[in-house]
């Protein structure tokens, strides 16, 4: 093994039917480093992690761990944990109805009797040491997602892990919470733990990581020290081509043809929901791209859900092209030409076991009616068209959507709503948890749709993404619209200031 290495994977191969998911990939993790694992969707990041944690058996190669004189075989996630490889997933895998301490020690107490007070003490001390701001006796479900994630890490650390894998831990955290998590990571790093950090956020990689390993199409592109690899180069290595500068995207957009005096495509007056947002007014014009922004929980998602009728609407007036309409449930919105791509892809977007084809035609089929199913040939033609149009990577139309990578799942959902041929498209976090290449594709698509005369509301946690695509931003705080920015006001600083308050408008 190399000097200082705590984990070495050599020549790892993994095949799926018809696909070489990993081909002779090497990966080295040193003691006390934070190592980013980067790559597009389908590059093999998740597969590599799953091989390492024993979820998938490997088809070739060796895994060496510090302190053992021969390659180790990891047969199951439990096995991985016992050998000191701990994983914290994007989704919290703890029990929300237990306390923090119970979650940290569940399954690890010996004998039938458990001295909870001593365990609470031990847990409390560990949480203190790691600087996690929570009491050991607090019920986990009452903690913020960030704290829950940190508790999961604390559990891993206490189990004496040498290798800590963090798989997209930051995708549901806000800026402050991310900082807390990073502090914890730095702390663990100084204690000698090797951390593998999987993320799609480039800024975060450059903020905390020491080294980057880039994968592409199941092959190793290279391992780099962070200082030697500027951002643009990282992206071009991930994409395997010269990076199509995202900053240029905006130039495609022709904002001149939006006529604000025209009747809005969609207009809401005093729209009142039941999900804790204040009544709000909103309008969008033909060919316009606007966005809701604000911190997590500010009510931006709740607002668009009210527009789509996804949550109960109790008051207000809605006009489509100046006509008053009633939108009480999603089907009403769909029939009025509104499409909505939900924030939580897994929970509200995909229908996991259904094929890619069924997932694509779903919305249009429902609009067409229960007694008018598409013929198989029609459905296949639709699916074919959109798989090509959006360049969806899938083995076939019949593949269950859940076996696609996150970015491709998102494209399928996009395809579903594009097929419904909306006049007004709402995209809530369409780029969350997907790779840079697909992000750019989606942003371009949004601008292309606008150019074709459709209206789009775009929500993203990444402000630069919003600045690039939107011509008008509605800023929300605590369930209230607190400002509207357009034109020259659309700068990072101005938006931040409005979100934070104090200097609104």
């Amino acid at each position: 093994m190399k000097d200082g290495a705590v984990l070495e994977m050599r020549g790892i191969c993994k095949y799926f039917p018809g696909v070489r998911a990993l081909e002779k990939v090497d990966f080295t993790l040193r003691e006390g480093e934070i190592h980013a694992l980067m790559g597009e969707n389908g590059a093999g990041k998740s597969t590599l992690i799953k091989v390492l944690t024993g979820v998938y058996p490997k088809d070739g190669g060796e895994v060496w761990l510090k302190g053992s004189d021969k390659p180790i075989h990891i047969k199951s996630p439990q096995d991985a944990q016992n050998t000191g490889i701990a994983t914290v997933y994007q989704e919290i895998t703890l029990c929300p109805n237990l306390t923090v301490a119970e979650n940290m020690y569940i399954g690890r107490t010996k004998g039938p009797l458990t001295n909870w007070s001593s365990i609470n003490r031990k847990a409390g001390k560990l949480l203190d040491d790691l600087g996690i701001p929570v009491a050991a006796t607090e019920q986990l479900g009452n903690c913020s997602i960030a704290v829950q994630q940190m508790v999961a890490i604390a559990r891993a650390v206490d189990m004496d892990c040498k290798v800590l894998i963090l798989d997209e831990p930051t995708s549901s955290l806000d800026e402050q919470e991310v900082q807390k998590l990073f502090n914890l990571m730095r702390d663990l790093k100084s204690k000698g733990v090797g951390i593998i950090f999987v993320t799609h956020f480039l800024e975060q990689v450059y903020e905390v990581c020491d080294r980057i390993t880039v994968l592409r199409d199941g092959k190793l592109v290279g391992e780099y020290v962070i200082e030697d690899l500027p951002r643009v180069q990282l992206v071009s290595k991930m994409l395997g081509k010269d990076f199509d500068d995202m900053a240029d995207i905006k130039s495609d957009a022709d904002t001149a043809n939006i006529d604000l005096n025209e009747t809005p495509v969609y207009q809401a007056i005093n729209l009142t929901g039941t999900t804790g947002i204040k009544p709000f007014d909103f309008e969008i014009h033909r060919g316009e791209v606007n966005g809701f922004t604000g911190l997590l929980g500010s009510g931006r998602s709740e607002s668009v859900r009210a527009i789509f009728g996804a949550d109960r609407v109790v008051g207000g007036e809605v006009k489509i092209d100046g006509r008053t309409v009633k939108i009480r449930k999603p089907l009403d919105a769909m029939k009025n030409g509104i499409s909505y791509l939900p924030e939580d892809r897994k929970l509200d977007g995909i229908v996991g076991d259904l094929s890619v084809r069924d997932n694509i035609i779903l919305a249009l089929q429902v609009m067409k009616g229960f007694f008018k199913p598409f013929t198989k040939a029609q459905a296949e033609a639709f699916a074919d068209e959109y798989i090509k149009l959006l360049n969806i990577k899938t083995a076939s139309q019949d593949t269950p959507i859940k076996s696609l990578s996150g970015g491709n799942q998102q494209k399928v959902i996009l395809a579903r709503w594009l097929l419904a041929d909306p006049i007004y498209l709402i995209l809530d976090e369409p780029t969350r948890g997907i790779d840079v290449g697909t992000k750019v594709e989606i942003q371009k698509l949004v601008l292309k749709l606008a150019a074709e005369g459709k209206s789009v509301t775009f929500i993203s946690s990444e402000i630069d993404e919003m600045i690039r695509t939107c011509s008008r931003l509605i800023v929300m705080r605590d369930g209230k619209v607190v400002g509207e920015l357009k034109g020259d006001d659309l700068t990072q600083n101005k938006i931040m200031a409005t979100i934070a308050g104090g200097e609104s408008k």
Partner: protein, 373 residues
Amino acid sequence: MTDKQISSGNSVKGFLGKMVSNQLFIPLAALLLLVLFNLVADPTFFKIALEPSSTGNLILSGNIITIIDNASELAILAIGMTLVTSASGGQDISVGSAIAIAGSVVLRIVKGQPADISSLSFYGMLFGAFLLCVAVSAAFGAFNGALVAYFKIQPMVATLILFTAGRSIAAWINNNDNISINDTRFGYFGNFIPGIPVPTPVFITIICLVVIALVLKFTNLRLYSQAVGINASSSRLNGINPKSIKLLSFIILGICVAVCGFIKVSRTSSITYSVIANNIEMDAILAVALGGNNLGGGKFNLTASVIGAYVIQFLTTTLFKFKVSSSAISAYKAVVVILLIIMSAPIVRKWFADRRNRRLAAKAESATGKEVA
């Protein structure tokens, strides 16, 4: 490397492997195994004869006919149970009790008729009785469905209510009288129509299967109930009303129950409230499981469930044939069933499929290795 290149190497093996992981494989294989077993043990098992019955009709008789005849109710129930399983992710355990109610409703109407009634008005009355029985059963189905869809009670718990109360309600409908219908025409639907050598329930089953096949072809029932069963929240955001779909699946099962109840009372021209269709709910659920359907809901294969129903009946008849005492028959059945259920469990089928994929991938690897060399 594409899929095609990998599989072309050994297409026969690939085909076999594909068949093994197909959902229809296990129920069909079980059926075949039962046939083979009987062929070896006693070939006369398959003897079918055309002989006069006690009433002087020429009818087909033999074990196979008995199986196909007796499995009718189970096959019809399997249709509804599969849909309920798919949409609600649970099972209805009240179908046996509901059949008692349906049968009792039919008898309540039929018993009051004078014996010398003309054929036309008799069948008209019978049709009315059937429609009423469909309405009552659909209403009870809707009751179950409403508990599941609107009150979000687990299907097994929700249907426990009717499971418990059903047979009492059935008895109450006829004041707990022992009814026996003397008009032979009433028995045509559960036995034989004069001049036709095939048992009537077989035709009724075929009609039910054709109807459901048409419904699945000309409506979106399959897509909707699968979508609701897999992800109700996402279905709702796509404009589907998950509650109505769940309710609908229970109503369809209610209609299946009505048909079964009608056949059941016609078979004997009488009813014993506590015995009629006893434990049939378990066999119906079993048929769905045997068909390799996920009992947690979602994707379903109706053909597999129906074949599962016939497998269960085949097994029961085989055991009877080999003089297994009726008290021990359940134990024998359980042993066979547990094997079949494990074999057809989605997780086991997935394991077979994975194994096949690994082998194919390894083959592909060695093939390309040679090319390079």
